[in-house]
């Protein structure tokens, strides 16, 4: 295979790294800068940077155009840097012509990207890797059935490659200690869960209990108002006395109103202090504040709203969800909550709530959120309330509680209305807007009968690591020494994915056990501590595949089992895989393919779907920004959560149904839940689950480019960023990644504070040739997507107001453009069609990501034949997603150490 770059002037859009000559035989690929640029260098650079007395000791005349070493790459990188920063040519020399400079910088930047890939090519060598953070968690779950919070371990992401790439997975002494601590915790957690496995536990909170608290607050508000009225009467009586007439007139002159007048009560002879009327204690220490408190109590702001909660039907048997009013420590009416009893052991539970919407519950006021820890917790799920007061509905949510859920807050389950209190500021705005309209506050719409939690029965078979410990931890009946040794050995073997530990290791662990006993531990504590060492040992932490240097070999059956299960589950092989490996059948193509199907069908394949999609598409950007809720009040936490899940659910749908990857470029359906359907303006989507929903023919939705999550990432939660969007499309959809943003590019300062449209701003970018080199490819795509605002809603105009300026500038969005060197498009629909016509490029990018993720090494030039084969095999069937996965699983590299 030969891929050659045509000269820049005639360049079509090209879809994967240019400047590369590679042969199918895997001979070393070479990267070279097109010779067409020699004249630019000769004309503008060599006078000073030639062979004779090179300025700054930088010689460019002998710089090879073929880049085969880091040293050459670095010299070229310096050239690129000074061109980007504008440092060269110096001011007193003629500048490079703009067009030539743009082409040169473009080609050079692309060459550097290619060179980096070439020089980083591991030629198929996979560096041994340790379990990354999520694999460590999943492996402990499979071994012990314990759910462990691994947040303290390094995330293993964020270095620009997948978290499976062994050469980037480090180890430090701190980490070793964290592994042992987490292992210890996992064993305790597993035993606690196991001890509670047959316990029956159910706890129900009847929501009418909250009504009692509300009545108490209402009574206090009324009583306080009465006290305030009495104080006012007393002050007024004193003020009416003739001897006070002068001073009263004086105060009246200064005070704007009665409340302010009373602030000067001290000057009125005979007027009592508000403290005497109970406005001093316990919170009010300063008398001035006491006056304010008394004044405020005259007109209790929330009283009508609080009283209103007692009028609708059903409050004798339940309560209504309210807009949070006073401090939740006084009245937590914003949610209905209950605390899981503290003595309950960890385990899996079902939470149920019985709810109904009344006739005020308009469609957008029918959603509730469930979560743990009402004050600080995240929303865990969103639910649409379809039940009525006559026929309430029961909603069920599964949850897991661990030993870490010890604080009351972490054991408090809650439900609240969606978008009712994403922040205090938003909650009070919502309240005030309603109060302005009806004089009371937001309508009560959702009635809660009760909230309950029940332990789910444990699986019939104990997790392997727990089963081994059965009967071995009894301090009253300490097992024999040989039994303890056997236990340690069996536990290690199970932890080491079936590999037997060496006897010397078991011996050393017995020494640990003895030291613990000597230090005063009981048998059970000593044994648990000893087993925690197993969970920090290299044979547990590393996926080792012995090999001789430079001699690739086929994987063993067991190694293949691990590679497959960590690829498709992010977890260790189960018994079936291990059995097949033990019987030598796993390498049979039909058996392996069937196993891959089985793993993909298993719920554990979520351990592939989410981390792969997250890293492939760079979803970390989704959590970068706060959405401007003044501008987008409807974009609440639930919608945000749903937007993120749409991506997982869409790819997950393809994975389940073996759908075509082309659906991610354009599709006539979306995979949404009821929350997101509302955001997209799709009617008739009932139910909280995600499912495919057909789209009208003219819909801009369908595929990545229609997704809110995509547009959210391509902006900052306030304004859109056409550059981010365009670059993302080039990177993820067209497999034509632009070079990384160069360092040290001067900013266009003259734009500061000016109201310019994105199109104008980007045109200015392109005035500088070194900026134009990338932006001419990025910007047309980004501008073609401007019909989507920062939260992915469709729009036809945009506006901007510069800081300190009164003028709002509004303009019509003009999406028309053309890909650089490629076809023109008139609007978003045409742009999407242009992109959707290039599935090969997209699938190639997907395959590259898949190879890197699955094999745990950079996907280099030497992998091009593999990518060719994957794309070709997929193409015959219109790119079904499992076909690509199967092609990789069946390929030689997947079977090779």
């Amino acid at each position: 295979m030969v891929v050659m770059r045509v000269s820049a002037a005639h360049a079509a859009v090209w879809f994967y790294a240019a400047f590369l000559t590679a042969t199918a035989g895997g001979a070393a690929p070479s990267v070279h800068l097109p010779d067409t640029h020699r004249s630019v260098l000769a004309t503008h650079c060599l006078k000073c940077h030639g062979a004779e007395d090179a300025e700054g000791n930088v010689r460019l005349d002998d710089l090879p155009y073929e880049i085969t070493s880091v040293e050459t790459a670095e010299r070229w990188q310096k050239v690129l840097n000074v061109l980007n920063s504008g440092a060269m040519p110096p001011e007193d020399e003629p500048p490079l012509p703009a067009a030539a400079k743009a082409d040169f910088v473009d080609d050079l930047a692309q060459t550097m990207v290619a060179a980096r890939r070439s020089l980083a090519d591991q030629r198929g060598t996979i560096t041994m890797r340790r379990l990354n953070r999520r694999e460590y968690r999943n492996t402990l779950r499979e071994l012990l059935g314990a759910e462990i919070n691994v947040a303290e371990l390094p995330a293993d992401t964020g270095n620009g490659s997948f978290d499976t790439v062994g050469s980037n997975l480090f180890m430090s002494s701190n980490q070793f200690e964290q592994y042992q601590a987490l292992g210890r915790e996992a064993i305790e957690e597993a035993l606690a869960r196991h001890s509670a496995r047959s316990v029956v536990q159910r706890h129900r909170y009847e929501a009418e209990q909250a009504v009692r608290k509300l009545v108490k607050v209402i009574n206090e508000e009324i009583e306080q108002r009465d006290r305030a009225r009495r104080w006012v009467a007393a002050v007024d009586a004193a003020a009416a006395r003739p001897e006070n007439a002068t001073v009263v007139a004086e105060i009246r002159k200064q005070a704007k109103n009665d409340a302010e007048f009373r602030r000067s009560w001290e000057r009125i002879s005979g007027a009592p202090s508000p403290v005497e009327y109970g406005f001093g204690e316990p919170f009010i220490a300063v008398v001035g504040n006491a006056v304010d408190k008394a004044n405020a109590s005259l007109n209790p702001y929330f009283l009508p709203y609080h009283e209103d909660a007692l009028t609708p039907p059903g409050i004798d048997t339940g309560a209504y969800l309210a807009n949070q009013t006073v401090h939740p420590a006084i009245l937590d009416n914003g949610y209905v909550s209950t605390v899981v009893p503290h003595h309950w052991q960890p385990g899996d539970f079902i939470v149920r709530f019985r709810v109904a919407g009344n006739e005020q519950a308009t469609p957008e006021r029918r959603f509730i959120e469930f979560g743990i820890h009402p004050r600080f917790g995240q929303v865990l799920s969103t639910h649409e309330v379809t039940g009525t007061l006559e026929r309430p509905q029961v909603i069920e949510v599964p949850i897991t509680l661990t030993r870490k859920h010890t604080d009351t807050g972490d054991r408090t389950l809650f439900i609240r209305e969606k978008n009712s209190i994403d922040s205090n500021e938003l909650a009070s705005r919502r309240y005030n807007e309603s109060k302005k309209k009806n004089g009371i506050g937001p309508e009560y719409t959702i009635w809660v009968d009760w909230l309950e939690i029940e332990r789910m029965p444990a699986k019939e078979t104990a997790p392997p690591g727990v089963a081994i410990l059965d009967g071995m931890l009894d301090d009253k009946k300490v097992p024999s020494r040989s039994q303890i040794e056997a236990t340690i050995e069996a536990f290690s073997q199970s932890a080491f994915r079936g590999t037997l530990p060496p006897p010397s290791f078991v011996g050393k662990l017995m020494a640990v056990y003895d030291h613990r006993l000597a230090a005063g531990d009981k048998h059970s504590a000593a044994l648990k501590e000893t087993l925690s060492v197993v969970l920090a040992a290299p044979m547990f932490l590393y996926l080792a595949e012995p090999a001789v240097d430079g001699q690739p070999r086929p994987l063993t059956q067991h190694e293949l089992a691990s590679r497959l299960s960590y690829f498709l589950w992010g977890a260790p092989p189960d018994q079936e895989l291990r059995n097949l490996a033990a019987s030598g059948k796993l390498t049979e193509p039909a058996v392996l393919a069937a196993q891959a199907e089985r793993l993909l069908d298993d719920p554990r394949s979520k351990g592939f779907l989410e981390p792969f999609v997250y890293q492939w598409l760079g979803l970390h950007r989704l959590d970068f920004f706060e959405v401007n809720r003044t501008k987008f009040p409807e974009f609440d936490n639930s919608t945000r959560l749903a937007a993120k899940h749409e991506i997982y659910e869409t790819v997950g749908h393809l994975l389940r149904t073996n759908g075509s990857l082309r659906d991610l470029l354009a599709a006539d359906y979306v995979v949404v839940n009821n929350v997101l359907a509302r955001h997209y303006g799709l009617d008739g989507v009932a139910g909280d689950h995600f499912r495919p929903v057909p789209l009208p023919a003219d819909s801009p939705r369908g595929g990545f480019l229609g997704m809110t999550a995509f547009h959210l990432m391509g902006g900052n939660g306030d304004e859109t960023s056409p550059v981010e969007r365009g670059a993302w499309v080039l990177r993820k959809m067209l497999d034509d990644p632009p070079p990384p943003a160069p360092a040290n590019v001067p900013a266009i300062a003259r734009l500061a504070g000016k109201a310019v449209t994105p199109a104008e701003r980007l045109r200015m970018h392109q005035e500088e040739p070194q900026c134009a080199s990338c932006h001419r490819r990025i910007d047309p795509i980004g501008l073609g997507l401007e019909n989507f605002d920062a939260i992915g809603r469709w729009r036809t105009t945009d506006s901007y107001k510069a800081e300190g300026s009164k003028d709002l500038k509004t303009w019509t969005i003009e999406p028309a453009g053309a890909l650089f060197g490629g076809p023109a498009f008139a609007d978003f629909h045409e742009l999407r069609a242009v992109i959707a016509e290039r599935p090969d490029a997209f699938v190639r990018g997907f395959s590259r990501a898949l190879v890197e993720y699955a094999l745990g090494r950079p996907c280099g030039f030497s992998d091009e034949p593999l990518l060719d084969a994957m794309v070709a095999q997929g193409k015959t069937k219109n790119f079904p997603v499992r076909e690509l996965i199967q092609a990789l699983v069946a390929s030689d590299p997947f079977h090779t150490k």
Binding site: A120, D121, T127, S167, N168, S172, E177, A741, A743, A752
Partner: protein, 433 residues
């Protein structure tokens, strides 16, 4: 104890180049004696304070055209006016290999080339503080301390790493996140009886024995590159071993009296930095360590200043200015005010013979990022008399002088025996008085 020589053997054969420290159990007891004896002359100290996302260009840097002592303090440094003669701002420094505009700390003290190793897209080398720690840290309870911000998910522009410190193999060194962890690391007494402490040490060593045995077994048959990977594990164990040896020296030596109260409330942002500065001063005063790095929070600093701009966006204030520029400038001011307070404190902390901590300490306040994606003229403020630095200057060095030249100058000035560091080409003679 009897396992020890064996383990040394294991380690040296496993990792080849790994040099083990002399351990007390092998008859080397000098450190133990040093632990109890008071250190003779006041020791040299080094403190690196890193602030992630850089500063505001026009607001923070003095005019390049007025080098020397007679320069006007720009508004961003105005809070440091009372210390003007006691710090030097160095302009023109950079790490030439840095190409990642979001990494303010990862290579700040190392100057490493991220792509130096073929086949890896991340490589780092030893940081200046760890070079210092290897020589200045022999006689203190902690060879060095690494402090971090406490925020969990914040975006403070520091880049990858567990702290600013990277060990001799270029691997990240962990540290304490937030003031409470830092405080306990320094002052929490171990009330365990000495015999029990020894038993615990023996138990910990038995754990190391077990996992080393396992590593050795695993190592058999691995390819060279995989062995190199496993060496990280051996290195981690070696670090613990070294720490245990040091712990052994310090058994029975009481923790220093805390010079400040235990932090009760969780604090963040501005208050967190202030409190961490107190703890750093306390660590130096009690001679618990002589080398400290601190990755300061930026995200939570903004929150505490009631700034709602995303920290990353803030550093891109050039385009739209407005609230991003405002945030950036207020961040500068807050950081300068806090740093001024830190200098107050080390100037007030008295040392023997009428001197103060300031006389024996070098404090660096800066970042690898200037602003936005800019990585040239990295913000660098140096204070303290510990390394013989010429103070009170706006020192403009030739453009693109390696930051590592500055680190080398400070290391040498602090009595560290070192010839070069990172990509250094020499020391900066103008920096020395």
């Amino acid at each position: 104890m009897s396992h020890l020589p064996n383990r040394r053997l294991v380690l040296s054969s496993a990792a080849g180049v790994v040099a083990l420290p002399f351990l007390p159990s092998l008859g080397f007891r000098r450190f133990a004696a040093a632990a109890t004896a008071a250190a003779a002359p006041p020791a040299k100290r080094l403190v690196f304070l890193g602030f992630g996302w850089g500063v505001t260009d026009d607001f923070w840097y003095p005019d390049l055209k007025t080098p020397g002592p007679d320069y006007a303090l720009p508004p961003g440094l105005a809070p440091l006016a009372r210390h003007k003669s006691d710090f030097t701002i160095v302009q023109g420094l950079w790490n030439k290999y840095s190409n990642e505009g979001h990494w303010g700390s990862t290579m700040w003290l190392t100057g490493a080339n991220r792509y130096a190793q073929p086949g890896q897209n991340f490589h780092n080398s030893v940081s200046a503080d760890q070079i210092a720690a290897s020589q200045l840290g022999l006689h203190t309870r902690f060879a060095s301390l690494q402090f971090n911000y406490s925020e969990k998910e914040g975006d403070s522009g520091h880049g990858p790493g567990l702290s600013m410190a990277w060990d001799v193999r270029g691997k990240p060194v962990g540290g304490q996140n937030g003031p409470l962890a830092a405080y306990h690391r320094l002052f929490s007494a171990d009330n365990t009886p000495i015999e029990k402490q020894r038993a615990l040490l023996a138990e910990k060593r038995s754990v190391l024995d077990a996992v080393l045995d396992n590593a050795q077994y695993l190592q058999k048959g691995l390819s060279t590159s995989d062995q190199r990977k496993l060496d990280e594990y051996f290195e981690g164990i070696r670090d613990i071993e070294t720490r245990l040896a040091k712990d052994e020296q310090w058994i029975g030596v009481p923790q220093p009296q805390a010079t400040l109260a235990e932090p009760k409330q969780p604090v963040s942002g501005r208050d967190e930095i202030g409190l961490m500065y107190d703890i750093i001063v306390a660590a130096l005063q009690t001679d618990s360590t002589r080398v400290i790095t601190y990755r300061q929070p930026v995200a939570s600093l903004l929150t505490s200043l009631d700034i709602k701009v995303n920290p990353h966006d803030m550093s891109h204030y050039h385009g739209s200015k407005n609230e991003k520029l405002d945030a950036s400038q207020r961040r500068d001011l807050a950081q300068s005010e806090l740093f001024a307070g830190f200098l107050d404190r080390i100037k007030a902390a008295s040392e023997p013979e009428g001197t103060t901590l300031f006389d024996h300490t070098t404090v660096v306040f800066g970042s690898n990022i200037r602003t936005g994606h800019e990585l040239t003229n990295c913000p660098t403020v140096i204070a303290g008399r510990g390394a013989g630095v010429k103070l009170g200057h706006n020192l403009v060095v030739p453009k693109n002088t390696p930051l590592c030249n500055a680190w080398l100058t400070l290391l040498k000035g602090s009595g560290v025996d070192v010839d070069r560091h990172g990509d250094s080409t020499g020391t900066i003679s103008d920096l020395v008085s």
